[in-house]
Symmetry: C2
């Protein structure tokens, strides 16, 4: 290795995720994370090792790089893997190629055109159904037939490290028919993963579950911030709006599907059988360990493999009506909850609507998220000594403005 990578680093030689960074002396540009460093791809380009225009690496987002296609971007990744391990590689002894992550600022990795949020964990949908609707019929009739999703707000997706303000809005007090206005009293996180679309389609085109991997560039951690009290009052009949669109937070490094290939696993059995356009072959879930901490207290331990609907099914469903997708579109999974109570991916579920407050290490307890709290989500896959991680999405909550 031409650069030191600490043991257990999320950004091992097996990962090589892409992101956009800047430093005091370097404008926004593309890089890959390796250990505690960033390899500056714009600088690497100057060595003449790439067969594409330097421009695509000197942009404020990765969209044009991704548009080169997987034949190019996958080769860039595997070349970097070889070069980093070869003491005689073009990258050797060139310290100007590397920047310490601690000295860099990370930015949104892509320009997000449209953002879609799914609702694909059966445990989460069941928990929410029990709380808000009917405990005996927690899942709505369409849930096992459709990877239910809805459109979210792209403009307010921010990168890890960017603090957010508690939203204000209308809520309906208990036993009242008159709404009141004020800061949300039930601010919540939702532990999700998001995938970044890697290839355009035209209106009218569909993507089959078999083709889906070609259209997925990679994944990030995704915190779908939610104001439960605003959501409850506003969401019928057209779905969540102000309860969600004030902010969503993502981790800065896009981990490619290539890097996640070794961690594929089978998903849950789908019964009843899905319609043919949602049927799929092979393993389409991913074994990715996920954790959520409030300040220094771990409150949730979940796994992406629990998802009932996989990304290939989400993309096939999203396009089956001819809806077009663009490079940089973000598609989030929905809250990732498991069967165990400590695997629930939201405070709504962990504290069960406030009836079971969560204890923090400092002796305080939480039903929802307080002002000043920092919520941090981390995730990694590990197998046969290979670790591929996502870093973190960490966000501090400031008081309402």
């Amino acid at each position: 290795m031409i650069i030191n990578v600490p043991e257990n680093s999320d950004f091992s030689i097996h990962n090589i995720p892409f992101g956009i960074f800047s430093t005091k002396n370097r404008s926004k540009r593309a890089g890959v994370a390796i250990g505690e460093h960033i390899l500056d791809l714009a600088e690497v380009h100057k060595l003449g090792v790439f067969n594409f225009e330097a421009e695509v690496l000197n942009r404020a987002d990765l969209n044009d790089f991704i548009a080169l296609g997987k034949s190019v971007t996958s080769e860039v990744r595997t070349n970097i893997q070889h070069w980093l391990q070869d003491d005689n590689s073009p990258l050797a002894n060139k310290s100007e190629l590397f920047v310490k992550q601690a000295e860099a600022q990370m930015h949104l990795p892509v320009c997000i055109g449209d953002y879609t949020d799914f609702y694909s964990s059966i445990e989460h949908a069941t928990n929410v159904g029990k709380m808000f609707r009917d405990p005996e019929n927690a899942l709505l009739p369409n849930w096992k037939h459709i990877p239910v999703g809805y459109h979210g707000r792209a403009s307010s997706i921010v990168v890890s490290g960017k603090a957010i303000h508690r939203p204000k809005g209308q809520t309906l007090p208990k036993n009242s028919s008159e709404p009141v206005f004020g800061p949300s009293q039930r601010l919540d996180f939702e532990l999700e993963m998001g995938f970044v679309v890697g290839k355009n389609t035209n209106m009218g085109d569909t993507i089959s579950t078999n083709q889906a991997n070609d259209y997925i560039f990679g994944l990030v951690l995704f915190n779908d911030w939610s104001a439960r009290d605003i959501q409850k009052w506003e969401y019928v009949p057209l779905g969540p709006f102000l309860a969600k669109n004030f902010a969503s937070s993502i981790s800065p490094w896009i981990v490619t599907l290539d890097a996640l290939e070794p961690f594929k696993v089978a998903g849950p059995k789908q019964e009843p059988k899905v319609l043919p356009y949602l049927a799929y072959e092979g393993e389409k879930n991913y074994d990715i360990n996920l954790e959520v901490a409030i300040n220094d207290t771990k409150v949730c331990q979940s796994n992406f493999k629990y998802m009932y609907w996989n990304m290939a099914q989400q993309l096939a469903h999203h396009t089956v009506n001819g809806c077009n997708v663009h490079i940089g579109d973000m598609m989030a999974s929905g809250t990732i909850s498991g069967k165990n109570e400590n695997s629930y991916g939201s405070m709504l579920e962990l504290a069960w609507m406030g009836t079971k407050p969560v204890q923090l290490n400092d002796g305080t307890e939480r039903k929802f998220i307080n002002d000043g709290d920092t919520v941090t989500m981390t995730g990694y896959a590990e197998k046969d000594g290979k670790r591929v991680g996502f870093g973190e999405v960490s966000t501090k909550v400031l008081p309402a403005k």
Copy 2:
């Protein structure tokens, strides 16, 4: 006048709407419609009459032009009004400045970042509530407190003239619990107007109802295509998704708020009183006559003035939680229905769920939209001999792919 404008033209000297056009010899660029012509703003710029870079007029969208701010764009509009009426103006006797609309192709006028659809007609919400829920309690409890809205798909918004395909998707047959897959059997239009955001905000910022006009560049006609059978099966609990995101169609010319100023009228009385952040002063509705035709048969005659919630309230609500908006964002009104049965803005209402088929001039009847049908929406305001129109959004429906 230095160019002939037919009487009753939508594009009178009082209008001067902005759009993006191209011809065989001219790449995509900004123009304004005047009578049956387009004034090529990139060519006008060459005369040295504008105090900003030519570049913003030579783009594939108006976003950078709009970003110059209303102090600039409003002056451009009023200058053009003066020049067109002055035989000694810089534009006189310069035929290269004008293109016949018949010889130009129109494009989407803006790059749309996020698209929001509201649900702001009380008549439409009541009609839908009667049909799908409870005739006695047609309006949901939140409706008179919140300008209900949801996020839609920006990528599939297309301009007038672009044909669309009937979407395919899941629907639930009557008296069955198993969904089936196929072309929608209940394809519908929704008569709406959309406004284009003209000024950015940052996350955390709010826009008051008093400030809203500064953030609205102008309006277009908007057809929110809807597949009612897909919608019915998918929309609980997170709202419409595939039933809407296959396509929305807009008219190509953005009519500015300046041009619509003379047509302001009072909106309906809002009872119960709204929360303070939704209260507003002055007249915020607009008297704009709207029509829908299927092929050559007029099927609906409505008016934008019927809206219960106005655009200022929509924008104040959208941002009250700190959600940021960007130049080019599109916000649609929701279906514009009036009190009379012929003013209903969708086939769902006009044919009352298929129970009252609509007769067309060719002797056929429609419950919903057939393959091969062309749906055309038109709109204009008129007062004291001044006419300001929107042209049309006209879309042919092709069979499912």
